[in-house]
């Protein structure tokens, strides 16, 4: 395919703002400052695999995976309902899924902090039913709630897009061939929505594993995620080299997960990236 001249601004943009910064990050990761002089070293990488940091990484991986699974469990049925031709309010409800995204996610997170706090309405309601000594905020569950809430639309939208594209005739054909509605879901809907599921998973998992603001605010500094660990290296430790190393480690691992979920037929994600 001949590359259009219009693509050059993009190429320039990508080189300037993606390739160059990445090269800088890699440079910092591979160097260290000793007595004011720059030396090349791989020590940062061996330090990055210290058990304490690996533990934080595994925790982030687990939390992001769990958030993604929950998003899928909620998002798929929701997308199914929204895309149903028999459901008149589908378009309106889709708007309701999208509208919260118009608001800054920090504001939404602060709203959740209010809802979940010890004197928030959810706790008050639970206390009414006799639930005491429970804390909804500042633990791993709270962080997962925050992640699920913030990234749910990124799961719903691609699945929705893949579902509404399914040719209605296919259902009629399945019915004519004797499939009941469950079988037609299993043999028609599900396989045809796989591209949507895959981009939904990618778009939920990647931002979830790299997030740090949600874990800081809803985890109360008790649940450190990898993104926060990286931020700390720059902010408090003033160790750019090690911060860069941790970033590279994270990028490589995210890249691996991206490759694992890559699907050449998948075009559904384009609208959000």
């Amino acid at each position: 395919m001949k590359r259009s001249a219009y693509a050059y601004p993009y190429l320039l943009w990508m080189a300037l703002f993606i390739v160059v910064p990445l090269a800088i990050v890699l440079f910092y990761a591979l160097t260290d400052t000793v007595d004011g002089r720059l030396i090349f070293t791989l020590e940062n990488f061996s330090a990055a695999f210290d058990p304490a940091y690996v533990k934080v990484f595994l925790r982030s991986l687990w939390m992001a995976a769990l958030a993604t699974v929950i998003c899928l469990a909620i998002g798929y049925p929701l997308a199914l309902v929204l895309s149903s031709r028999h459901f008149k309010a589908g378009k309106l409800l889709l708007m309701l899924v999208v509208i919260p995204m118009w608001m800054n996610f920090l504001l939404r997170t602060y709203a959740w902090i209010n809802l979940l706090s010890d004197n928030g309405i959810i706790m008050k309601a639970l206390q009414f039913f006799g639930v005491e000594n429970l804390s909804l905020l500042y633990n791993q569950t709270a962080v997962i709630v925050g992640l699920v809430y913030n990234f749910l639309p990124f799961m719903v939208l691609p699945i929705y897009t893949s579902l509404i594209k399914i040719e209605p005739n296919l259902y009629e054909a399945a019915g004519d061939l004797g499939a009941n509605s469950f079988m037609s879901f299993l043999k028609v809907t599900l396989p045809l929505s796989v591209p949507g599921i895959v981009s939904g998973i990618t778009m939920t998992f990647m931002p979830a594993i790299t997030s740090f603001a949600v874990s800081r605010l809803m985890g109360g500094g008790l649940v450190t995620m990898y993104g926060e660990l990286i931020e700390n290296q720059f902010y408090f430790m003033r160790d750019w080299h090690f911060g860069a190393t941790l970033s590279i480690v994270m990028m490589v691992l995210v890249l691996i997960s991206a490759v694992l979920t890559r699907n050449n037929k998948n075009k559904e994600g384009g609208m959000l990236w």
Binding site: Y6, K55, D118, L137, G221, N232, F234, Y235, F236, M237
Partner: protein, 355 residues
């Protein structure tokens, strides 16, 4: 469809070129830009807008940070400001690392209103680089409906009785100060065995589920909302939390008997300052007693300006949170720059947070 893609790419290309040229452009209004970097919630917004009204040739660009270390990280990253507000140990570090401009105090005549005891302090002996802005203590803010016993020791933060109801300060120097003071050591302790002991104490506190959360600025909402029993806070935040109108009347503040941190936040001019005249006018304005008094009433910290304190009146002068007595102050220590030990403190704190 194809036409649309073309139109889109052309407009994006134009936008891109425009963005590049826009970056190079200066301020077309002819105003001098003054870049100010201060703590969050640390100035009365009216004071700021009034300064701009009185000085129509100056436009203030105002950014905020939530820790000394965060501020320095921003400078490390290449951000440049004219006027900054670091705490004493950070002033010391910034002097050593050559970030600051020597002040010409004759350009800040309002310095005469500042109480002598807040001038010529150890971190900047001749006030060559800094002018004091506020001061205060680190202490315990507690909810009297949840804590009935007298609060006079840091030990209450390590007591099982309040498990899950304690908010610690999410910053290395302050949390370490709590543990070090409780153990009877200095907030600037240099002995690594003692530092480890303090770290172990904080780690145990977290492990045993005593800590509800680590917070900085958000602690105010949590305490006002009655969501925790005890919190490590700075005196000014305590004042705001206990405020009669927007605060919580059940809250009280104490500086523990083991002693605490006494801090001074200061105004400095960066070496990269591009509008020195505007910077001096801004600092002098903030040191004006009437302005300082209004500012203090808004942010809740204590003022080093004796004239401003007089304007604040009796209630302020007799309030032990604003004006701790001599005996309390004698127990408190000022943070010093840790030099090469900074890394040791940081690693101990990181291991507490990560476990």
């Amino acid at each position: 469809m194809k036409l649309w893609t073309r139109i889109l790419s052309v407009s994006l290309a134009l936008l891109f070129c425009f963005a590049l040229t826009a970056c190079g452009g200066g301020d077309s209004s002819g105003k001098t830009t003054l870049r100010v970097y201060n703590w969050g919630d640390y100035i009365d917004p009216d004071v700021l807008s009034e300064f701009e009204e009185q000085n129509p040739d100056i436009r203030v660009v105002y950014d905020t940070f939530d820790s000394n270390e965060g501020m320095l990280a921003k400078l490390d990253g290449g951000a440049r400001y004219d006027v900054l507000f670091p705490s004493e140990y950070m002033v010391e570090k910034m002097i050593q690392e050559d970030w600051l401009m020597e002040l010409d105090l004759s350009k800040i005549p309002n310095v005469e209103y500042i109480d002598q005891r807040f001038l010529n302090l150890a971190f900047d002996p001749e006030n060559k680089y800094s002018v004091p802005y506020t001061w205060g203590t680190l202490g315990i803010l507690y909810n009297t409906t949840m804590v009935t016993e007298p609060v006079d020791s840091w030990g209450i933060l390590f007591s099982e009785e309040y498990a899950g109801k304690i908010i610690m300060y999410d910053s290395v120097r302050d949390s370490m100060a709590v543990a070090l003071k409780y153990l009877g050591y200095s907030v600037n302790e240099h002995d690594e065995a003692r530092l480890k002991e303090a770290g172990d104490l904080l780690a145990k506190q977290k492990q045993n589920g005593l800590v509800k959360a680590y917070m900085t600025d958000t602690v105010k909402e949590a305490m006002i909302g009655g969501n925790a029993a005890l919190a490590v806070v700075y005196s000014g935040d305590a004042v705001l939390c206990m405020d009669e109108t927007d605060g919580n009347a059940d809250l009280a503040y104490a500086v523990p008997k083991e002693g605490s941190n006494l801090f001074f936040d200061n105004i400095v001019i960066s070496k990269d300052c591009e509008s020195l005249d505007a910077a001096y006018r801004f600092i002098n304005y903030l040191c004006d007693p009437a302005v300082a008094a209004r500012n203090i009433a808004y942010i809740g910290y204590s003022t080093p300006s004796s004239a401003a304190a007089q304007i604040m009146g009796e209630a302020y002068l007799n309030d032990p949170v604003f004006m701790p007595d001599e005996e309390t102050l004698a127990r408190c220590e000022v943070f010093l720059d840790l030099g090469s030990l900074t890394g040791v403190y940081n690693r101990i704190w990181e291991s507490v947070k990560l476990q």
